[in-house]
Subunit: 271 residues, 4 copies
Amino acid sequence: MTRAAHSLKDRMYTLIFTNETAAGRLFDKTLIALILLSLVIVIVDSVEQIARSFHSLLFGLEWLFTAIFTVEYAARLYCAKNRRKYATSFFGLIDLLAILPTYLALFFPELHALIDVRVLRLIRIFRVFKLTAYMQEYSHLANALSASRKKILVFLSFVLMVVLVMGTLMYVVEGPEHGFTSIPIATYWAITTMTTVGFGDLTPKTDLGKLIASTMMLMGWGTLAVPTGIVTAEMSRTRNHRRHSQVTCPECEADHLDKQDHFCRDCGAKL
Amino acid sequence: MTRAAHSLKDRMYTLIFTNETAAGRLFDKTLIALILLSLVIVIVDSVEQIARSFHSLLFGLEWLFTAIFTVEYAARLYCAKNRRKYATSFFGLIDLLAILPTYLALFFPELHALIDVRVLRLIRIFRVFKLTAYMQEYSHLANALSASRKKILVFLSFVLMVVLVMGTLMYVVEGPEHGFTSIPIATYWAITTMTTVGFGDLTPKTDLGKLIASTMMLMGWGTLAVPTGIVTAEMSRTRNHRRHSQVTCPECEADHLDKQDHFCRDCGAKL
Amino acid sequence: MTRAAHSLKDRMYTLIFTNETAAGRLFDKTLIALILLSLVIVIVDSVEQIARSFHSLLFGLEWLFTAIFTVEYAARLYCAKNRRKYATSFFGLIDLLAILPTYLALFFPELHALIDVRVLRLIRIFRVFKLTAYMQEYSHLANALSASRKKILVFLSFVLMVVLVMGTLMYVVEGPEHGFTSIPIATYWAITTMTTVGFGDLTPKTDLGKLIASTMMLMGWGTLAVPTGIVTAEMSRTRNHRRHSQVTCPECEADHLDKQDHFCRDCGAKL
Amino acid sequence: MTRAAHSLKDRMYTLIFTNETAAGRLFDKTLIALILLSLVIVIVDSVEQIARSFHSLLFGLEWLFTAIFTVEYAARLYCAKNRRKYATSFFGLIDLLAILPTYLALFFPELHALIDVRVLRLIRIFRVFKLTAYMQEYSHLANALSASRKKILVFLSFVLMVVLVMGTLMYVVEGPEHGFTSIPIATYWAITTMTTVGFGDLTPKTDLGKLIASTMMLMGWGTLAVPTGIVTAEMSRTRNHRRHSQVTCPECEADHLDKQDHFCRDCGAKL
């Protein structure tokens, strides 16, 4: 390519992929607004009454957004430093999914019969993940989660074990005549109970079942309450201890001096 | 104005806007009591049975409180250092709203037909915000919230993203025949589930739906349980480490030295 | 009184009110067991089926426990250092309430018509508070709660304000035709929602109502999730910082030395 | 036994009971996979529709797993250092329970009439506990829980006391005509409310009942919210204090000195 084209590529890259320049930041803000607007269109289109009244308008707007996102995707592919890397990255795939449904519906009209229009709406909703590229905090969050993933997995597997055993226990005690028709159903109920959600679509009817349910509820709520209480108690004790492990300067009677200080903070006398 | 009027204005200001004098504090306490009483009247007036039996009494009391608050508002306007600033501030607007409904109902009788009496009750309930002027702790709370507002917004937007995607997933899996009629409805259900509220007005009926619901419930509850567990584990580890590995220097009596130290941190003596 | 009586009084005091001797501790354990057994009798007596079958037995056992607790109460009154102080203290009143219902039913048979037998069961259930005398940890808990009472009251009043305003808002939006018949009812619903309990006996039917409900659910759950997240983030940052603000001894290359140390912990060299 | 047998026993022990060698770790991984697969069979077998269609296959797989676990149990018994200790330990009993149901059903066919097949499924589900042998973190968790058991018991007993008293109060206020038929039922409702689960199978109908319920909901949710808020406030205060009031000594460059200090803590120089 000629020098001018390279320069165009670089300028586009700075505009699209970075937010160092004012233009880059404006591009980002505009894109965020467009993503949010397109999501509103998808959400609103799913409501029967609104969809019937405004079908043409929503259809037109959807094509408009698809066109905009297609141009954006093409631009990204064009000026990316490494096209393959972008195209296969998380954001690259999301950007592709963002425009795919509308084209699929266009080029494969018989697809409507195979894939429910609801699925196409779901794929369009995935556009929301494009937003995560614009927030540093999300990568912080992702890193924090990744760092703790072992602890989270161990905790989760322990909860699943408890929920499986308690659920099966309820399956034995209550039985199919009270709605606990199988172990998976009973485990689903156990999860609604231990996570304190409590839908109420399935509830224990026998006295022993209610007793076991009470135990599970106390376990699920206690897992939140007990550590919180322990941490608060520790904090109180530390504050009190700090208030108590302090010495007084022999010269100027100042207190609040730590035992480890060498010189009095107020009069300079050697401690 | 004459010197006596200025003095009256100042004395009123000290009484109404500050709580430095005993009279100022008594004024505050009296006003708090009046606000609470007027709220009770509004609340009680909304209960059909009570409203029918005691209509005249409640009506009279409401006019009494409106009169009192009108005098208070006029007094504040009169002795405020900067009238415009007070009238447009949060507390100034609340004080105006506190007396407005009754006057609106009086001067614009046809308003009854346009604005539901329930709306007028709501505006009267806003008087409760007058109370926040009297508690320092509320401004602490407001400052703390304000300081963390970026973190809160990021967290909230992340939760909204998850709830939108999972909700739409349930909309696809369960569909209108099971109550999930549109993406907004499904997202509302997703919020009731992830916040562990679990009304039960809408519940998954398909097995895949119950599986997705289980995941969401574990996510919502886990967001509370996992950090609490991690924090408690950290605290235990720190306490145990501190308790098990501290020695005292034989020479200078410094404690808080780790068992593994070879030399005292303060005097350099060999341990 | 003679010397022997004084000695008996002292010996009874040591037995009943203190737990320094082995006999005193045995007395305590026995009393705890009796209290728990008497509670079981009251609880079991409230179940229709069991009460009908075993009425005589339960009646007899109730009289037995009342007799035992009467003897205990009389003994406490006899050997207490300050009778008036004991009789008017929390524990003194609980001990009196523990025996009162049965005597009331005996001496005032017409009372049955006035006070529901359920109320008498409730007063008997208050015996459970006798247990709190035996656990030091409960007084720790009570002290901790008492120390934080100002913060708790401020927080509680703030929650009540929010719940009142949001509840009234729902009362306006949903209205009596959807179950929100008055402000108290709407506030009750707001509490079930913000505390994430979510009974489901009352649920929003309008779209705006569901939107407001979603906000409230996120507020109620977020009040638990946001601080927990902030605390966990702080802890991670502190751990990372501690790992980063450490100097190395120039002589022996040991790290993990705090910046404030004067002498290297490993080789004794001056830092 | 001959030397070769001892050597075989040792080699088996290293394979089965330890995970120091690659073979030992492979054995562990294989066994975990087999345990999980066998659990899936039990879970799937409980679903009516699937059980009817695939009965023979599931029956055969169940026998296969029982055979594998029998061989494993026999091997463990053979090469254990102390057979009695293993056979009576938690893991030994779990391993026995894992294979027992199928043999019971085989040797005692009339057992089917006495013990519900659901109970046999429950005993098979206990195999999940075999997994805990393979995760170090579970023993950490068990130790942590064991260390805090006194605090947990005190907290739990306090919650049970509150739940019993509040539940009985609701039993008095609402009564059998609204579903609160006995103290145990009312206590079960109190637990669903205080743990914020809120099934909704039982709800207060009277105004006083709704008021008491509101108090309980605020208590249950507040037990999570108040300590979390206090801890976060403490952390903020510490951070702010630290950030706002630290100066550096001009002489010896020590930081972490408070603004209000007059003399440096380390070198005695005047600030």
